[in-house]
């Protein structure tokens, strides 16, 4: 795998021939590209579904903190000789449980989350100094290693993704209810605290999967930006989730294709596409809302 990557990297950057069928065939002739597309697609779907609720629940900061906690776990995993992914998963799950139990409302708990986040980063940096190997492992954790994903990794990501999607489908409506209208949901018997913990656990799994692709630092591009865009455009939650998934897939695929034909790192490309889309949507909705906000008949009753 790594040999193929090195071989490909040492060769001249391929140029698109503009014969799409040929280009696609050539792109997928490399196993690492096939793996990257597969893993990237699974992660995109997963992050899209979970990400919409991250935005809806205003838990972006919590999601970010989870990835940093996971980073500490992964660094610990590397330092003490077990795998980075298991360290990542265990620590982010632990962090999710703690944050979920902390209070039924995670919103407005910035200071607590920030404190945990800072310590996690410190812990991660300590673990990295304990690790005597090269620094590329740490770089991969921080910025992702999508081109180095093995078949085994894909199985792990696929299983985690499938499990997460099943749980999301089960808690979909109560989660939506508690995200939009917590007080009423509580009165209607929705288990607010349990859902909060369950959702953060799902975020932890999604983070673990997404870190393989975009790394700890760039995770927002898949977990938050598509959700932020969908939230500004869609009037029904089901459409928002669908758009969210479509956007994440588009960002990952575009990032992979462009990185194949250029020297830009894939993490940068994915975040750039995500950010560019977000800017476009903000601009478009700003123009749209100043033009025609709502039907004029309601203006009098305000």
């Amino acid at each position: 795998m790594n040999r193929a990557l090195a071989l490909w990297a040492s060769a001249a950057t391929p140029k698109p021939s503009w014969n799409v069928a040929h280009d696609v065939h050539q792109l997928f002739s490399y196993p690492f590209m096939r793996h990257a597309f597969l893993a990237g697609s699974i992660v995109a779907v997963l992050a899209g579904v979970v990400g919409y609720f991250v935005v809806l629940r205003q838990s972006s900061f919590a999601a970010h903190a989870l990835s940093e906690v996971g980073f500490a776990g992964a660094a610990g995993g590397i330092a003490y000789g077990f795998s980075a992914v298991s360290g990542l998963l265990v620590m982010s799950l632990l962090g999710a449980t703690l944050m979920g139990l902390l209070g039924k409302r995670l919103r407005g708990r910035d200071a607590v989350i920030g404190t945990v986040l800072a310590f996690s980063l410190g812990l991660g940096s300590y673990f990295l100094t304990r690790y005597k190997g090269n620094a590329s492992g740490a770089f991969g954790l921080l910025f992702g290693e999508i081109l180095g994903i093995s078949a085994h990794d894909i199985w792990v990501i696929a299983l985690a993704g499938a499990a997460t999607l099943v749980v999301m489908a089960v808690i979909y409506r109560p989660l939506l209810f508690s995200s939009l209208d917590e007080d009423v949901a509580e009165a209607r018997g929705v288990p607010i605290r349990g859902l909060s913990v369950a959702f953060l656990l799902l975020v932890a799994v999604a983070v673990t999967a997404a870190v393989q692709v975009v790394g700890v630092l760039l995770i927002f591009s898949l977990l938050v930006t598509p959700g932020a865009i969908a939230d500004r455009l869609c009037r029904t939650p089901s459409r928002a989730v669908a758009l969210c998934v479509a956007l994440s897939l588009a960002f990952v695929w575009a990032g992979l294709v462009v990185t194949y034909y250029s020297n830009f790192p894939v993490g940068f490309l994915i975040t750039a596409f995500a950010f560019g889309s977000y800017l476009l949507v903000r601009l478009a909705t700003a123009i749209h809302t100043t033009k025609a906000d709502r039907p004029p008949i309601l203006m009098n009753s305000r």
Binding site: G108, F177, D183, G189, D231, R294, P295, L298, S301, R302
Partner: protein, 297 residues
């Protein structure tokens, strides 16, 4: 006036059975010597009342007196400190589909693009597990339409929530509360931060709905005047006591003076409106005691 006075026994309520245990069978809400506390701090005690089916009760009193606490007890999200409480004959339990609830409104982010109808739909199926059966969607949509029409929100229900005015939002929340067909409506300050005209309209909408569907209503309000044309009784919660009765009996100079231990006077104008004088301190700082939720909820 005794301390735990029940002013003017409920005209519609079933008679209390005396032993303090068995609730009146016809009552939607029955309280016997009920007490509430917040943590270890007592809020009020000695509340004894029956809310009859279809009855419209306005809940009045200063901020922090425990009006919302009463609703939370009935909803089953908070437990009584002591005493007996029955909701339709049963102990209160969270998730009772026979109760429709509108909590105190918090400002909605103007960027929220979700349509009002999606919000209403939550009241029907939001508590159910799973993503929903596609075959039932038409039926859900029909019931949502119906609830939206019942509150007169057809014109804007499909608009994004973030673009709605306070009155529009209040109607949609009402639609969400009634879409499941409850017997009892609990409304926490639905008239707050509305202008006088919108207060009147929302009160009328609530009364009309409750009348048409035979729902009992407990509505928390600051000002009783917009509700005077529609209410059956008022409940006054202040200084740790809960009294209930006809407004002419409860909102009187004598009763309020005794309640507040101050020289309070109730004035009537030519249109029958009530004005409470002598509580200027309270009126001048109406939000003094309010517990402000942490930023963003």
């Amino acid at each position: 006036m005794t301390k735990q006075a029940v002013i003017a026994p409920a005209p519609l309520a079933a008679p209390a059975t005396g032993d303090g245990r068995a609730p009146g069978p016809a009552a939607d809400v029955t309280a016997r010597d009920l007490a509430a506390s917040y943590g270890r701090t007592p809020v009020w005690s000695g509340a004894t009342f029956d809310i009859a089916p279809g009855e419209f009760v306005a809940v009045l009193g200063p901020n922090g007196a425990g009006k919302s606490t009463l609703l939370r007890l009935i909803l089953g999200v908070q437990h009584p400190a002591s005493g007996l409480l029955r909701v339709m004959g049963d102990p209160p339990a969270r998730g009772n589909p026979a109760i429709g609830y509108v909590p105190q409104r918090r400002p909605i982010d103007p960027d929220v693009r979700l349509a009002g109808t999606e919000f209403v739909k939550l009241g029907l199926s939001g508590h159910r597990w799973g993503i929903g059966v596609p075959g039932r969607r038409a039926e859900l949509d029909r019931r949502v339409e119906e609830a939206v029409a019942a509150v007169g929100a057809e014109g804007y229900a499909r608009q994004p929530l973030g673009t709605m005015s306070g009155g529009e939002l209040q109607r949609l929340m009402l639609a969400q509360a009634v879409v499941g067909g409850p017997r009892l409506l609990l409304l926490d300050e639905p008239l707050a931060s509305l202008d006088v005209r919108n207060q009147m309209t929302v009160a009328q909408v609530v009364a009309h709905l409750a009348g048409a569907r035979g729902m009992a209503v407990l509505l928390i309000a600051h000002d009783v005047n917009p509700l005077l044309p529609v209410l059956d009784r008022v409940m006054y919660i202040a200084r740790g006591q809960v009294t209930i009765g006809h407004p002419d009996d409860v909102i009187t100079s004598e009763h309020l003076s005794a309640l507040y231990d101050a020289n309070v006077e109730v004035l009537h104008d030519s249109k029958g409106r009530l004005f409470v004088v002598g509580l200027e301190e309270e009126a001048a700082h109406p939000h003094r005691h309010e517990r402000v939720p942490a930023d963003g909820g």
